[in-house]
């Protein structure tokens, strides 16, 4: 599952991530696209707290935060 949070700032990207996970219980992979460092860090922290292993790909001005269980 992939969600695009570009343009939104905290707490919305985390909230969107949380909703996506709540709507898809049991999903073990999520990709969150964001365009600012703060959201990248917040989404990363949130996914780690939910038990995901997180890796981040940086390209131009965007970050792809990938959580895998």
């Amino acid at each position: 599952m992939k969600i695009d949070t570009c343009g939104t700032s905290c707490p919305q990207p985390v909230l969107m991530t949380k909703k996506a996970l709540d709507n898809n219980p049991g999903s073990n992979k999520i990709e969150v696209l964001t365009d600012n460092n703060t959201s990248k860090t917040n989404v990363k922290k949130f996914l780690v707290s939910k038990g995901f292993n997180v890796e981040i790909e940086e390209e131009d001005d965007t970050f792809l935060v990938r959580g895998i269980k």
């Binding site: 343009g7 707490p11 909230l15 600012n36 990363k44 707290s49 997180v54 981040i56």
Partner: protein, 365 residues
């Protein structure tokens, strides 16, 4: 393409809990220093009061006791600007409902001047033993709670966009311009001869303190609203730890310096009207959640190139002018009848905004 793997590895210092506690403690110590060097009591920093003083210095209001160009504000913007540039986090962006943000800025300022302090000063007041600020904190937390309900109902001011790269430089340039006015002190700039506006630390020290706190707040995302919000929404206490660190450090420091005075009566630059202290901070908490951060955070973001936050800061300065011109601002004597009416109007406005921008109303887009 760069890859960064993170799961259990070590976090950068400023993203760690130690980092935010360090930043909170530093803000507490610097606030104590500023008071020792001349700032009004429990007012090492107050974003609302200092923006109000700047509005007065520029002649936007004529309350003679609160007019001064506070170098702390200049330092906060420039400190955030410099660290954002250095950390490659500076981005010109904006366009997320700017007019709404402008008026929310006005509302937040009216609430803050009802209480006599922004959320940062609220916790500095708690650290000084001012129990009125505990009443304010209750209102603040309730306001944040109401805001969170709307966030969970889909409240959004919609996304922002990249703007012209120059757009983000305007606030830092304005900050430099304010500094020039402070030093040059032309006749059209007003400086209080008495009252809180006349009480200030030496310019160079206040500027450096602002720069340090601006840099720390930029790195750690320190935010008074975010702490309580994230704890309620996500059970994350990172930002809240910074909030608590400021209270602990200032309380210990004030006790050590003999400035700690526990009680409600005769607190510095404060009044004892509990209901309106509570409602004022409720308005600040609610409005700030909708804005995505407290007045300090707005100032920091404005230094990072975020023009939505710059517009909010401008709204707060205009709000301060309105508050004094219309006798809405409280004083040590208490709240004013006009202030009561204004806070109620602002609460209705914020409620309307909250509903209109959430999923409670069917959106066209």
């Amino acid at each position: 393409m760069e890859k960064e793997k993170v799961s259990s590895e070590k976090k950068p210092f400023f993203e760690s809990k130690k980092g935010i506690i360090f930043a909170g403690a530093a803000v507490g110590i610097i606030s104590l220093i500023l008071v020792q060097l001349g700032n009004p009591k429990n007012m090492g920093f107050c974003i609302a009061c200092f923006e109000r003083d700047i509005a007065g210095a520029l002649g936007l209001h004529r309350a003679e006791v609160v007019q001064y160009i506070r170098p702390e504000i200049i330092g906060l913007i420039l400190g955030a600007f410099i660290t954002a540039l250095a950390g490659k986090e500076f981005q010109s962006k904006g366009g997320s409902s700017p007019v709404t943000r402008f008026f929310l800025g006005i509302a937040v300022m009216i609430g803050a001047l009802m209480f006599l302090g922004c959320p940062l000063r609220m916790i500095l007041r708690i650290g000084g033993g001012d129990l009125n600020a505990i009443v304010g904190l209750v209102g603040f937390a309730v306001g944040i709670g109401i805001g969170v309900v709307f966030l969970n109902k889909g409240f959004s001011l919609k996304r922002n966009y990249k703007t012209s790269s120059f757009d983000g430089y305007i606030m830092p340039i304005v900050a430099v311009g304010l500094f020039v006015l402070l030093i040059a002190a032309p006749a059209f700039i007003f400086f209080s001869q008495e009252g809180p506006g006349s009480q200030h630390a030496p310019i160079a020290i206040a500027l450096v303190c602002g720069l340090i706190v601006g840099a720390l707040a930029q790195k750690t995302r320190l935010c008074m609203v975010g702490g309580i919000r994230d704890e309620i929404m996500f059970r994350q206490n990172y930002l809240l730890l910074g909030f608590v660190a400021i209270i602990v450090v200032t309380a210990v420091g004030n006790i050590a310096l003999g400035n700690f005075k526990l009680g409600f009566a005769e607190q510095p630059v404060a009044h004892t009207d509990g209901l309106w202290n509570l409602l004022g901070m409720l308005l600040v908490g609610w409005g700030s959640v909708l804005l995505g951060g407290c007045p300090l955070r707005q100032l920091i973001l404005s230094g990072e190139g975020n023009s939505d936050s710059a517009v909010t800061v401008c709204g707060m300065i205009v709000g301060a002018a309105i508050a004094h011109n219309f006798s809405l601002a409280s004083s040590a004597k208490g709240a004013t009848p006009n202030g009561h009416i204004a806070v109620i109007i602002c609460l209705v406005f914020v409620l309307a905004l909250s509903i209109a921008n959430s999923d409670l109303v069917k959106k066209n887009s």
